[in-house]
């Protein structure tokens, strides 16, 4: 894998920082972080999970549907790189999926089935507390070097900063407030996907694309559009004609 060009690196961090305006949409922000994280290290896909108050990981953002299902599968099977990374707080790097059948007897074959050869997981950390993990999947054998790991860790740190929004988080209570809000905002998106899919007779993924396209074209926040969709389903008709 080629080293990340400094210019590209600078561009990505500027782009990500640029989305951290006062009123940014959290899910859009996390989707951007996962997409750019995957691109930076030449991984095919990425997904991001956050822990709820029970320490149960919840899917927050991913580059595509396959990744979303793979992330949910890890949570369901209670094994996989994301869970290991979350539990240990240390990155999982260059895990070869053809060689991790013992470590992850359920997850490894599943990931291979959908075309991945290697996987990495980077913790989302806030001063010693691990709040989630970023997963990177690649169709090639992993060759992430330590400098690449630093880059992805930096991106994961930016994700944590964006997520928690407050400059001086020294109290656990603020962390809990923000995390709950974040987790709930993902739930609203899923509810809106279902409502749109039902109304237009499309798949939930098509519904998500429609929802996102609508929000972007009108420069509205994804979460706000999702919220108005579920508050007043009769307004959903407008989404289709956009």
């Amino acid at each position: 894998m080629p080293a990340v060009a400094p210019e590209r690196l600078a561009d990505v961090f500027v782009e990500v920082a640029d989305t951290l305006v006062d009123d940014f949409d959290l899910i859009e922000f996390l989707e951007l972080v996962t997409t750019r994280g995957a691109e930076l290290v030449g991984a095919g896909a990425a997904g991001l999970l956050l822990a709820d108050h029970n320490g149960q990981l919840q899917f927050m953002a991913g580059t595509d549907e396959v990744t979303r299902l793979l992330e949910l599968f890890q949570v369901q099977a209670r094994e996989g790189p994301c869970l290991d990374c979350f539990t240990s707080g240390s990155p999982v790097v260059n895990a070869d999926l053809s060689d991790t059948g013992e470590q992850w007897p359920l997850f490894a074959p599943r990931a291979v089935d959908v075309g991945f050869r290697s996987v990495h997981a980077i913790p989302l950390r806030l001063r010693g507390t691990v709040i989630g993990a970023l997963n990177l999947f690649s169709a090639d054998v992993g060759r992430l070097r330590s400098e690449d790991v630093h880059v992805v860790q930096a991106l994961a740190d930016v994700a944590t900063i964006g997520l928690l929004q407050e400059r001086a988080i020294h109290r656990g209570e603020v962390l809990a407030e923000q995390l709950q809000r974040a987790l709930n905002s993902r739930v609203v998106i899923e509810q809106a996907k279902g409502a749109i899919a039902q109304l237009h007779g499309m798949s939930v993924d098509e519904a998500f694309a429609l929802l996102r396209g609508y929000a972007r074209s009108r420069q509205l926040r994804l979460g706000d559009v999702a919220q108005s969709v579920v508050s007043d389903p009769s307004g959903i008709g407008d989404l289709a004609v956009s």
Binding site: D52, H53, N54, G55, Q56, Q58, F59, R68, L72, V75, Q76, R171, G172, E173, A176, E177, Q178, Q180, R181, N184, S185, V187, V188, E190, Q191, A192, K193, G194, A195, I196, A197, Q198, L199, V204, A226, Q227, V230, S231, P233, I236
Partner: protein
């Protein structure tokens, strides 16, 4: 891990004796939940406010009268932790009402202090955009809830949510009956199904979850599986189903 904590809270609530007869089972159960919260968390009072049709939450159950008075006050002055938790869709944790809270809630904070409250923790009862109410915990001395207690408090809120959705008739205390919290691993599909049923039946989101849950119960099937069938398009709840 998650199931363990939920089961633990359910057994704490089941361990509380039933209330005076004549209450609706849901209110009785929520009162027991409030009393269990006071017993097992470092708080002096707890209350559940439920949303009336699209409005602000009104008190449904409380461990004592103070909370009922204060919740009413919040509605009157139009401000307070419970109202903020509701409008911001997130917990509002005020560890010391003498510290900054007076500017945040100029009407509510002095009155709460006068009633002997020093810290208030308001946890929204919600599933995404479906807002069911707020669980309010308070105590007579300042200080944040330690992380473990906060996690337990959030689990109390989680159990309150599934109780409200599962409905008073369906679930006996201490028994989850394959309810909301048993569907943990299929949550995304569950939420998508909730949105779909909302449109199918022309009901609101909260009602959509109740219908899904009732369908699963009547057909003795896991909720997650029913949600999967709805999302795949194979299952469409009839308008008269589920009740």
């Amino acid at each position: 891990m998650a199931e363990g904590r939920v089961a633990h809270v359910r057994s704490l609530v089941a361990g509380e004796p039933p209330d005076v007869p004549g209450q609706s089972p849901l209110v009785d159960w929520l009162r027991r939940l409030c009393r269990a919260a006071v017993r097992d968390l470092p708080v002096t009072g707890a209350g559940v406010s439920l949303t009336a049709e699209g409005g602000v939450p009104g008190v449904a159950a409380a461990s004592d009268r103070t909370l009922a008075a204060l919740e009413e006050l919040q509605v009157t002055v139009g401000e307070g932790p419970c109202i903020d938790a509701f409008s911001w869709h997130r917990p509002v944790l005020a560890a010391d009402l003498t510290d900054g809270a007076r500017t945040r809630w100029p009407g509510y904070a002095p009155a709460a202090l006068e009633h002997g409250l020093r810290a208030v923790f308001a946890l929204p009862l919600q599933i995404g955009a479906a807002q069911l109410g707020v669980l309010t915990l308070y105590r007579d001395r300042p200080g944040a809830l330690p992380a473990d207690d906060l996690a337990l408090a959030l689990t109390f809120a989680e159990v309150a949510v599934s109780t409200i959705v599962d409905g008073q008739a369906l679930v006996q205390p201490g028994e989850s009956a394959g309810g909301l919290d048993a569907a943990l691993e299929h949550r995304h599909e569950l939420y998508q199904a909730q949105g779909m049923v909302m449109v199918q039946l022309g009901v609101d989101l909260g009602e959509a979850m109740v219908r899904l849950r009732a369908y699963a119960y009547r057909h003795d099937r896991p909720l997650g599986e029913v949600a999967g069938d709805v999302v795949d398009g194979g299952l469409r709840l009839a308008a008269d189903h589920g009740r």
